[in-house]
């Protein structure tokens, strides 16, 4: 019945040595076939270890896969599908696997019992950082990181189904067949690369023929149904709220493959059926961790599925299921026979029995009973219950999620017949007609309560974390008696196998130690992920360039052609400055852009600022509610600056609003706040004032918008705006706005707004014309030496004018602090009005925005510096405020800054110290009005 294709030979290496295996092998089966007995060293004691299991429960055979210049550590050899060219290495040894220097730990074991690290490495204190920690760091952990970039790619996806069936053993396959034929949309997932569960490993018959025949026929039928999706090598690792499941699909174990290595699936299922089977558990006795001591079910798998006869095998079992294993010697604990010791450090050579007799053997198959795989039932806080007859934990129907059913061995129904019966029962429960019950074995397990053999020598419970029965006893002695404490104190069940083969045995040892029963002892439960998920799978395609979206402005192409350096503002890429040849650094470019704009004309892409279309009979009334000032009085054809507060009175955002008609406004926001402001406005509209006739829609991307600023701004625009529109100062004064056409009939809007303080406009066209417009304006602008300027120059100019921006609207400042206290209308309520009047926010000595100039013109100003009165030492008590914006002003030829100073408005002229403690700079500055350049605003209104 083997599933090995020995016509397809695969070459692989293990620790540099070449071996051969076959198609259908795992790395573990191939190593066993090649009689490789030692495959790793245990975590703490560095004892030689061999393969113990056959699936994801494997605790010992952790290997590294090498490929594409990197390595993937901590892979279980039992879940690696053998491929041609596989290079694997063992882990956790210093020196070669067969001569591990750290095996000295095994001889030091009396000092390395559970919790030893809480009692050691404490003295002398200085030794911790210099000696103990580096040594422990080198010795600790499993596997090594290559520190190379991950050459693999990953993907993610979304699936929807009526029922998700987890596990494709007999129970899962029969259920899938029933529901699939009934037309339900189902997904059948199994983490193995072949579907069939235990049927692939046991010598069973179904309907008087080999079980594999039934498996293959069933899969064939399922593959033909369009409403069935089969997902092998897919581990359902997590159960989340409302029928959402996480699945990890593995496409290959080969590193650096061109296709995504893993796909992380988010599965939306109306119901799920857990048919995840059960995991066999061992028995604890002295030296039960020797290479060659294996789970009995694994020995049968290697024989039946992988066609490997393990020589000279003995069997230790406490139940009937184990008796299926072919063995030369059988020790059944129910007959009073058991094993008390194992000889053979690098591979079993002899077994000592309780009678004193010693026999020769090379493998020992151990069966201590079976544990249903209840893990996924616990992800939503269900607690399994103890079944005294089956001597295992089974799902408790009272606490199961309402949309999950558990069937087959996962529900404690261990025989194949019981699995089929459960499948048909759950099919009926889901409203479909089951197919006939296949004829097959129905043997009971008859497991007895034999968990461990007490003795002087160490008996292993958790193989991966090297936790022995003695450790559990010690934990109890030291007062860590609750199951949760024992877990953390001993680390039982905390390794990458999460206690699959050790939890229940550990509980039994603890129960025995405390004198309580197992149900009284309780059990720890589980949370996602069921098995390890690479972090790359969570990232999916979001790496490097694809990490986050990029938003480009309409003039991006043109700017790139003209030497722009781009800066990221959220998702946007904005031109920061555009260097010309000969310019040595960014200051050269930025200073030039400012000087050219203020002397002639500059153009800047301001599309990124949020634009919100506000329409309705109550649009003005609505804006009155969200802004501190009044908009219902704004005339058609005019713009107005607006400040928006949060309900707690702190400034949220500012912008300008233009009125295009009685019922039509266009409001702007800062770039960063476009999303949050829109969300806030919709909250106000839908939740606070649902009776107003007002409608909002974002138009940020819809309109390309450019600022045209400088003494020649109007002259340049007159070459663009169609002749029938009068944009003279009289016809189109400061703060006017209107709809017009440009360049021979193209739809446009013009706003006379100025952030720079120059004669300025913002011209807006549907984004389809954005690229064409910037080219046209720059071409027409050649006559005026027009310059394209970026965010740095934009920033310098607004600081020169003393305009607050993001640095000042930083989430802690009020209208009053920004110098806009008088701007807040006294005649009406608005969001934030009431709480803005709290005494702490309006106190006399509260922070107020003012300007700063260094006393000495050579001095540089530093953003974030704190203001300390002259003569005082910088401290929280002497801290009078902080610098929020700093720039070199080409116009004033000095550094200038904006900042917040206690009672700043009343301290103009004072000399104060700006201290930047991290940079250790202390600069004398004079407190001045923030309106450095053209304070009367004369340039605006020409």
């Amino acid at each position: 019945m083997s599933l090995i294709d020995n016509t397809q030979v695969l070459s692989f290496t293990f620790n540099g040595k070449a071996y051969q295996g076959y198609e259908g092998d795992t790395l573990a089966s191939a190593l066993l076939r090649n009689k490789v007995r030692v495959v790793g060293r245990s975590f703490k004691y560095h004892r030689p270890r061999g393969i113990m299991g056959v699936g994801s429960e494997e605790p010992n055979a952790l290997v590294e896969i090498h490929g594409a210049g990197t390595c993937e550590p901590n892979r279980r050899a039992t879940t690696i599908k053998l491929f041609d060219g596989l290079n694997a290495k063992s882990q956790n040894h210093m020196g070669p696997l067969n001569f591990d220097v750290l095996a000295i730990n095994d001889f030091m074991h009396p000092f390395l019992a559970a919790g030893f690290y809480y009692k050691t490495f404490m003295w002398p204190k200085a030794f911790w950082e210099k000696l103990y920690e580096p040594v422990i760091r080198r010795a600790a952990g499993l596997g090594t990181l290559s520190k190379a970039a991950d050459p693999d790619s990953y993907d993610k996806g979304f699936l929807h189904c009526d029922t998700l069936i987890i596990g494709a053993g007999p129970a899962g396959l029969q259920t899938a067949l029933n529901l699939g034929l009934a037309g339900h949309n189902i997904i059948l997932a199994d983490d193995d690369f072949r579907m069939g569960g235990r049927l692939l490993s046991e010598d069973y018959e179904i309907n008087l023929a080999p079980a594999l025949n039934w498996v293959n026929e069933t899969i064939q039928t399922l593959e033909s149904l369009p409403n069935v999706r089969l997902m092998s090598r897919t581990s359902i690792y997590g159960v989340y709220d409302h029928g959402i499941y996480g699945g990890l699909e593995t496409t290959t174990d080969e590193i650096g493959s061109s296709k995504p290595r893993h796909i992380l699936w988010r599965i939306y299922a109306k119901s799920s059926i857990l048919a995840a089977g059960a995991t066999e558990r061992p028995i604890a006795f002295a030296n039960n961790d020797r290479p060659g001591v294996m789970l009995a079910s694994a020995v049968r798998s290697y024989k039946n599925r992988f066609d490997i006869d393990l020589e000279n095998t003995a069997l230790l079992t406490n139940n009937d299921d184990g008796l299926q294993t072919d063995a030369a010697h059988i020790f059944d604990t129910r007959n009073g026979s058991y094993v008390t010791d194992v000889g053979g450090r690098k591979g079993v050579r002899s077994l000592t029995l309780n009678t004193g007799e010693k026999i020769a053997a090379n493998h020992l198959a151990v069966s201590g009973g079976w544990n249903p795989n209840v893990h996924l039932t616990c992800h939503k806080r269900a607690r399994p219950k103890w079944d005294e007859t089956l001597r295992c934990f089974v799902p408790d129907p009272k606490t199961l999620p309402s949309d999950m059913s558990v069937i087959g061995a996962a529900n404690g129904q261990f025989s194949t017949h019981a699995a089929f019966k459960d499948a048909n029962d759950v099919t009926e429960k889901l409203g479909a007609k089951p197919s006939s019950l296949p004829q097959t074995e129905d043997a009971p397990i008859n497991v007895s309560a034999f968990w461990h053999v007490k003795g002087k020598k160490r008996a292993w419970v958790d193989f991966q974390n090297d936790v022995t029965a003695k450790d559990i006893t010690l934990a109890h002695q030291e007062g860590f008696s609750s199951v949760e404490h024992v877990k953390r104190y001993t680390t039982l069940g905390m390794a990458t196998d999460q206690g699959r083969t050790s939890n229940v045995v550990g509980l039994a040892v603890l129960a025995d130690t405390t004198g309580q029963s197992i149900p009284e002892t309780g059990t720890t439960i589980f949370r996602p992920p069921y098995s390890p998920v690479p972090i790359g799978a969570f990232a999916g395609t979001h790496r490097g360039q694809h990490f986050k979206p990029t938003r480009l402005t309409p003039s991006h192409k043109y700017a790139a052609e003209n030497g722009a350096t781009f800066i990221e503002t959220g998702y946007w890429k904005r031109s920061q400055w555009l260097a010309r040849s000969g310019e040595k650094g960014w200051r050269d470019s930025v200073d030039r852009e400012v000087l050219m704009t203020r002397s002639s004309v500059g153009i800047c892409d301001v599309t990124t600022l949020g634009k919100i279309d506000v329409q309705g009979r109550d649009a003005g009334k609505f804006l009155n509610k969200v802004y501190v000032n009044t908009f219902s009085t704004l005339k058609v054809g005019k713009c107005r600056y607006g400040l928006m507060l949060r309900e707690d009175g702190i400034a949220m955002d500012d912008g300008t609003t233009a009125r295009l008609s009685e019922t039509h406004f266009v409001t702007t926001t800062t770039t960063a706040k476009a999303g949050p402001v829109f969300r806030h406005l919709e909250f106000v509209r839908q939740c606070l004032y649902p009776d107003m006739d007002v409608h909002l829609i974002s138009t940020t991307d819809q309109w390309a918008q450019f600022s045209v600023a400088g003494p020649n701004a109007r002259k340049l625009l007159e070459k663009i705006v169609d002749p029938e529109f009068d944009i003279s100062n009289e016809a189109f004064p400061y703060m006017a706005c209107g709809e017009l056409t440009i360049c021979g009939g193209a739809r446009a809007r013009l706003f006379r707004l100025s952030f720079s303080g120059e004669l300025a406009y913002e011209i807006s066209v549907p984004a389809r014309y954005g690229d064409a417009l910037i080219r046209e304006m720059m071409q027409k602008g050649e006559a005026f030496d027009a310059v394209l300027y970026g965010t740095e120059a934009l920033g310098v100019m607004r600081i020169e004018k003393g305009h607050a921006a993001g640095n000042e609207l930083n989430g802690t400042t009020t209208a009053q602090a920004l110098g806009l206290g008088g701007f807040v209308s006294k005649k009406k309520d608005c969001i934030g009005k009431v709480l803005s009047q709290r005494e702490g926010l309006i106190a006399e000595d509260s922070l107020q925005m003012v300007g700063f100039i260094p006393v000495s013109s050579q001095d540089k100003l530093t953003n974030g510096a704190h203001f300390i009165p002259k003569g005082e030492t910088p401290s929280p008590e002497t801290d009078h405020g902080y610098m929020s914006s700093v720039a070199w002003s080409p116009m004033l030829e000095t550094y200038i800054g904006l900042g917040f100073l206690k009672n700043g408005q009343n301290r103009l002229g004072e000399v104060i110290q700006a201290s930047h403690l991290m940079g250790n700079s202390h600069v004398d500055v004079t407190v001045v009005s923030p309106h450095f350049f053209d304070p009367k605003g004369e340039r605006l209104r020409v």
Partner: protein, 189 residues
Amino acid sequence: MSKLSPTLPLESFSKHWPDLTVEEHYTGELISLAIARDEESAFKPAFKKTFGKAAPEPSQIIAVKGGFAMWSSPDQYLILLEGENINADKDIAKKMGACAYATLQSDGWASINVKSDTSKNAALYDVLERFIPLNLRQAPEGFATRTSAHHIAVIVIKYSETEIQLLTPRSSARSFLDALIHTADNVLS
């Protein structure tokens, strides 16, 4: 005709894989139409008169006079009109009267068509299931809704079993398209 030539957000992009075509598709004009408060009774007949049919239900897109209309929020619809008309919003506002408000949206969105040739096991679903969280396989023809894919807003319209249109904001359209092509390569190459 003005001197300014329009540019498409994705420069007429087009790529083919076995049983899949992804291409930019010029949509004509997009207009957002909002119902004025308390004017539902005037809106319904005005809509029928302007577009020849009753307004669509939630998650629905229907063919109307001049193009298509889809539901976009409790008091808003998105109209997709064939042909170029930069003033389409004003024309519609005039036709609908005081019971509705119209806003031009055409330039805010890029439009991508995703098509398969075969209707059985169409490759487009194998690709889109990696990309869009909705159950597109089971969705009926005429299904239209807005969601997000790879952190970018997307309006999904299922015109037929073999053709799905994706509208995505213009400024991030390149990123969106790159992600879609990357996904198609992962599935189909």
